[in-house]
């Protein structure tokens, strides 16, 4: 509470008191009182006024302070109207009612926005369900009629499928509920699946793929990991050099299993490296190549954060290494509990 403003607001009341004091003094002089008795009355008046106003100020200040700390401790500040008590003063009660009304309409708004978002997410999931049918049909049509043309077509279909998956996982990552199930998965299976998902893309770009020492099991959701690997593969193809190579390799260190995805592409500038997981960040490579969206790695990071996988990147002129870190003990204990 602003002290000087508070006293400025009380100025009219103090002035009234002063005028009353003057009038009383005049009246008492006319009545023929002595100066000392008049002074005593005035001092007494001033004293009572000061105590009264001081204590009111102190009480108000404390009340306001309580409200402020209460609001401060709330994580959702707009809920303050729900927990504050009905004030005693008439004007305060009007403000109280106003806050209540505002809070209620705010809650209604939030509720409807949440509902809309949920509906939209459900729509997106359903849409992706629907679009998979024609994609599957096209894929089968192509695979039953193999030619140079269908291979190109299948590459494009892989991209289409990747983008739809991206939309699905974006919708899933936005929402706070759990859309995954953690179980024991074999990393080599997931890696083989991710490569199979991008078979035509990799073959067309003559990507040399090596897989070494990947027979490790971790506790995670295979579909999420597969999506993340898909994204890393697509990136490796996008930022490739003339003789592209891609290596998957797993190392175990204590209770951590690290999956390294290494390419020999154009690499990431050191100054860009700390920001590659930010949404919409495309960096130096984004300016030189056309189709960087700044979504892919951002989404990977979000999914990793949700499911408890560590993700980090390292890069030099001769390529980029992405590292996914799975913790074993952490999840095993949770599953067993």
């Amino acid at each position: 509470m602003n002290k000087s403003l508070y006293w400025k607001n009380r100025l009219a009341f103090l002035l009234t008191n002063f005028v009353c004091m003057l009038a009383l003094t005049l009246f008492l002089i006319i009545c023929g009182n002595t100066v000392s008795s008049i002074a005593l009355i005035l001092i007494l008046w001033g004293f009572i006024l000061a105590i009264g106003m001081g204590s009111t100020y102190w009480k108000r200040k404390r009340q306001m302070q309580v409200l402020l700390t209460m609001a401060d401790q709330l994580s959702e500040r707009y809920l303050i109207s729900e927990i504050m008590e009905l004030p005693e003063q008439a004007e305060d009660q009007v403000y109280y009612q106003l806050i209540k009304m505002a809070g209620k309409s705010m809650l209604e708004q939030i509720g409807s926005v949440r509902r809309e978002r949920l509906e939209y997410k459900e729509y997106i999931e359903q849409w992706i369900h629907e679009i998979k049918t024609p994609i599957t049909a096209m894929k089968l049509l192509c695979e039953n009629r193999r030619s140079e043309f269908t291979k190109e077509f299948l590459t494009e279909l892989e991209k289409t499928n990747h983008f739809t998956e991206q939309a699905l996982y974006y919708a899933r990552s936005e929402y706070t509920e759990k859309d995954y199930s953690v179980r024991e998965i074999c990393l080599s299976d997931v890696i083989h699946q991710a490569i199979a998902d991008n078979k035509y893309l990799l073959l067309r770009n003559n990507m040399k793929v090596t897989i070494s020492n990947v027979d490790h099991t971790v506790f995670s959701d295979d579909k999420w990991v597969r999506f993340i690997l898909n994204q890393l593969i697509v990136n490796a193809v996008k930022y490739r050099t003339e003789h592209p190579e891609l290596a998957f390799n797993v190392r175990r260190q204590g209770d951590q299993v690290m999956l390294y995805v290494e390419d020999n592409g154009i690499g990431i500038e050191a100054c860009d490296l700390p920001r590659i997981f930010e949404k919409g960040f495309t960096g130096q490579n984004g300016r030189t190549t056309q189709n960087s969206t700044g979504i892919g790695l951002y989404l990977c990071k979000r999914l990793c954060d949700k499911i408890g996988i560590g993700i980090s990147a390292d890069s030099c002129k001769t390529g980029t290494t992405l590292c996914l870190t799975f913790r074993i003990n952490h999840f095993v204990h949770e599953v067993q509990d």
């Binding site: 998979k132 049909a137 695979e143 199979a196």
Partner: protein
């Protein structure tokens, strides 16, 4: 050879047609469901060895059908679906499904799953060997035999020979062979393929098979 019959229960006519074409192209007999109100009767009549079942169907869902089929049949059931949630996957296992594949399925994975489920459900029907021009390829032992002489093959070499044997008489292009190897999780590039073919030729020459694999200029290889 006793050919397996696979039933495709899928409401999208294009997918059903193409899936059956794919399976027939790989040596299976197929049957489809046209009338979705009497799927169970069709299954009873056709007696398939394996069933591919979509979850979202007009009328009864794939889950309901699965539990109904399980009453009278033990044939492996593979669920295929567009958007899989964990509940769907759990349901499919609870109701007696054997595998779960999400659209758009990789045809190689679909065929591999089909083959492995059939092998598990109906064991020991295949001899596991292929023959062409006097040479016999033993798949299990990964050995090539010619006039009593044998040579061991690596996994890459065995798969390349398997593909050539399977398409014996036809020309197999280098990209097709590479793709087949990739489907078998062997990520071989163009150079490595040449190296492998040369090594196979050396091994074949050592057991007396000369000019078994012929190169068709700019087209590929053939037996």
């Amino acid at each position: 050879m006793n050919r397996y019959k696979i039933m495709v229960i899928e409401d999208d006519p294009v997918i059903q047609g193409e899936l059956r074409a794919l399976l027939e192209g790989n040596g299976y007999v197929t049957a489809g469901a046209e009338d979705f109100s009497s799927v169970i009767e069709t299954v009873k009549k056709e007696k398939p060895h394996l069933i591919l079942l979509d979850i979202k169907l007009p009328g009864e869902s794939g889950f309901t059908l699965c539990s109904k089929i399980r009453i009278f049949s033990d044939a492996p059931i593979i669920f295929v679906t567009g958007c899989s949630t964990d509940m769907d996957e759990l349901n499919s296992i609870m109701l007696g499904g054997d595998a779960f594949i999400t659209k758009p399925y990789n045809s190689a994975i679909l065929l591999a799953k089909t083959a492995s489920l059939l092998k598990r459900a109906y064991p020991a029907q295949q001899a596991g060997q292929m023959a062409y021009g006097g040479a016999v390829l033993h798949l299990e032992a990964s050995v090539l035999e010619y006039e009593g002489r044998r040579t061991d093959l690596t996994r890459n070499e065995q798969k390349i020979l398997y593909y050539l044997f399977k398409n014996a008489g036809n020309i197999c292009s280098r990209p097709d062979i590479t793709e087949f190897l990739w489907d078998n999780q062997l990520y071989v590039d163009d150079n490595a393929l040449s190296v492998n073919i040369n090594r196979i030729r050396e091994k074949l020459a050592a057991i007396g098979l000369k000019n078994f694999i012929k190169t068709k200029h700019r087209q590929g290889y053939t037996l």
